[in-house]
């Protein structure tokens, strides 16, 4: 990390000091509010992605938000939280590129405030509540820096009415392997065929490494989830995804997978427009896309074909109770 911006308010926070100590050569730049840097105009996401800075801040205001409709894995009370903004990976389809001006990483160091709000929110419901991490970031990729997983799991261990999904593509699973599996935590991996990983998910662990991590977690007793989202169009979709699913099914005990979800590539129109401006040469954006309900996605007949093929493969190894389509 070359440059670290630090909000005045958290300059002496123990997490700030620990993170800065990890990068003794970084430029340390004090700032008033993270939004001054992160939301500044005239930033170029693509350009910054080559050399992102780290911003350490305190997240003010509301920390837990209801998930969008359709974003759940069987629970009735569903929330997401973002202890980080942005991701170390550079997936060409990622909606964060359309949502944020900046490719810098923001780490909110006031972890305890998040956890207290999670507890309050869970206690406000009689039925279990689900909390999704990894909506605006990768849950594990920066964990060696943030130590968020350990802090978080210590807490969830004491709140059995709260369920946590850690969504990731990362193989940084040491903090999970160093402790007993928790019944109320699911580690969910986004998976794509190896050639899509190579061409569109820049900087991410290979499919093989992700499957190894999943297998290791499964063997250690952790609940695992599989997220086939987004499915990307290809002329060779059928062959590509059939072989991919076979590879996944060979690697894992599918009957023990907690949940599987699946969704095709889709982006809000405004995000898509920004993505085209940033990456006009992206292969996935050269596919036939059309506007449906405010989202740029594949034509309905194409989507149906893609979903049906995947469903056919999945239904041979999982039960309907394990499956949650993404809308």
């Amino acid at each position: 990390m070359d440059t670290i911006y630090i909000e005045h308010e958290v300059a002496e926070h123990p997490r700030t000091l620990r993170i800065c100590a990890r990068y003794p050569k970084a430029r340390l730049i004090p700032i008033a509010r993270y939004s001054d840097v992160f939301n500044a105009r005239v930033q170029n996401f693509r350009e910054q992605k080559q050399n992102p800075s780290l911003i350490l801040a305190k997240k003010p205001g509301k920390l837990i938000h209801p998930t969008p409709p359709g974003y759940h894995i069987g629970g009735t009370n569903n929330y997401y939280f973002s202890h980080m903004l942005n991701c170390v990976y550079d997936c060409r389809y990622c909606f964060l590129q359309g949502m944020y001006q900046s490719a810098n990483y923001v780490v909110f160091v006031n972890t305890e405030d998040f956890l207290e709000e999670i507890k309050r929110t869970a206690n406000a419901h009689e039925t279990p509540s689900w909390f999704f991490s990894g909506y605006d970031c990768d849950s594990l990729a920066l964990d060696p820096i943030t130590h968020f997983v350990n802090d978080c799991l210590d807490y969830f261990e004491s709140v059995p009415n709260a369920f946590l999904e850690l969504r990731t593509k990362s193989t940084q699973i040491r903090p999970l392997l160093n402790r007993d599996a928790l019944n109320n935590v699911v580690v969910a991996y986004s998976l794509s065929p190896a050639s899509i990983v190579q061409e569109e998910e820049h900087g991410t662990p290979s499919l093989e490494k992700r499957l190894d991590a999943l297998k290791t977690l499964q063997d250690k007793g952790w609940k695992i989830g599989l997220r086939f989202d987004p499915l990307l169009y290809a002329d060779n979709f059928s062959e590509l995804y059939s072989q991919f699913f076979d590879q996944v099914f060979d690697a894992l005990d599918m009957t023990q997978v907690h949940s599987v979800s699946l969704g095709v590539f889709r982006l809000p129109k405004g995000f898509h427009k920004k993505l085209v401006r940033l990456y006009p040469d992206a292969k996935l954006l050269a596919a036939p896309l059309s506007l449906r309900d405010g989202m740029m996605t594949y034509p309905m007949d194409e989507e149906t074909t893609m979903r049906e093929l995947c469903m056919e493969k999945l239904s041979s190894v999982i039960s309907p109770e394990q499956f949650f389509p993404c809308s």
Binding site: T3, R27, Q43, N51, A194, E199, A234, D235, D281
Partner: protein
């Protein structure tokens, strides 16, 4: 070919870069402009208004400029001759605030960074972490219309401080002081040049689209669609279509339909699954 522009205020600051890069005067629009095949130097005159006006006019006129480096002297607490990179640009008068996205340290050899506060008049009110200049905020606010925060950098050399205050400042020291910033500015130019290839790539497609649109009447919307179709075509085909294959269409709609069909017929595969 895209250009990278150095922006200075004073002739004594410009001289260092004109000599080092062998820049020649460009007589155009009454600017103090110098250049070679890759670089430009704009000498704005003293003060943020002149800096803002000249920067804005140049960037509006020269769409090929992909990055700027503002270089010059500044007052601050650091020893005279210290070179610093601006991490925040503040306009004292208006409160304008900007954050250039800093280059990697390997590019500029870990030189210290600072807040650059732009003043109307020189000041001796030196403060830790801040240097004073008279142009940076004008340049940044003008450039922000055309360039991203990573495509503008501000290199300042300390010319006066509490031990050598303004009253003792000698104009003859400007050139030798700015020479101290020359290595940093050259490193930034080289770094920007490496980054300008992607910009050039898109510039080529735009030029090509404009050529095609000049043969067949295109509305603004048609032109946007044509550009996008050409981008998709090149992504899938690896090259743009032959110009002659597009120049004979009677109208923009027929041309778009042709490109849509061509794109739809191209393979979009991922890897080999055998």
């Amino acid at each position: 070919m895209s250009s990278i522009c150095i922006i200075t205020a004073l002739p004594a600051e410009s001289r260092v870069f004109i000599d080092a890069l062998k820049l020649k005067p460009i007589l155009d629009h009454g600017w103090r402009l110098y250049g070679n095949s890759e670089h430009l130097l704009l000498q704005t005159g003293l003060g943020k208004l002149k800096a803002c006006a000249a920067t804005s006019a140049l960037l509006h006129h020269r769409g090929d400029i992909s990055a700027i480096v503002n270089a010059g002297i500044a007052g601050g607490l650091a020893p005279v001759g210290t070179t610093l990179l601006g991490h925040q640009i503040v306009d004292q008068g208006s409160g304008y605030n900007g954050y250039p996205h800093l280059p990697p340290q390997r590019v500029v050899q870990a030189i210290p960074t600072t807040i650059v506060e732009t003043l109307e008049k020189p000041s001796s009110d030196y403060r830790a972490g801040v240097v004073f200049d008279m142009e940076a905020s004008g340049i940044m606010s003008a450039a922000a219309t055309y360039l991203s925060s990573g495509s503008m950098q501000f290199v300042k050399v300390i010319s006066d401080n509490s031990e050598t205050p303004l009253e003792q400042f000698k104009p003859s020291t400007v050139t030798p002081l700015v020479e101290l910033a020359l290595p940093t500015v050259l490193q930034l130019l080289e770094w920007f040049a490496q980054d300008s290839h992607a910009v050039q790539h898109q510039h080529d497609i735009k030029t090509y689209a404009e050529q095609v649109a000049s043969c067949v009447h295109h509305t603004v919307n048609d032109s946007h669609q044509l550009l996008r179709l050409l981008q998709q075509y090149r992504t899938l085909a690896g090259e743009l279509p032959e110009y002659s294959s597009l120049s004979h269409f009677e109208n923009a709609t027929a041309l778009k339909q042709h490109l849509h069909r061509a794109i739809a017929s191209m393979p979009l595969d991922y890897g080999k699954t055998s």
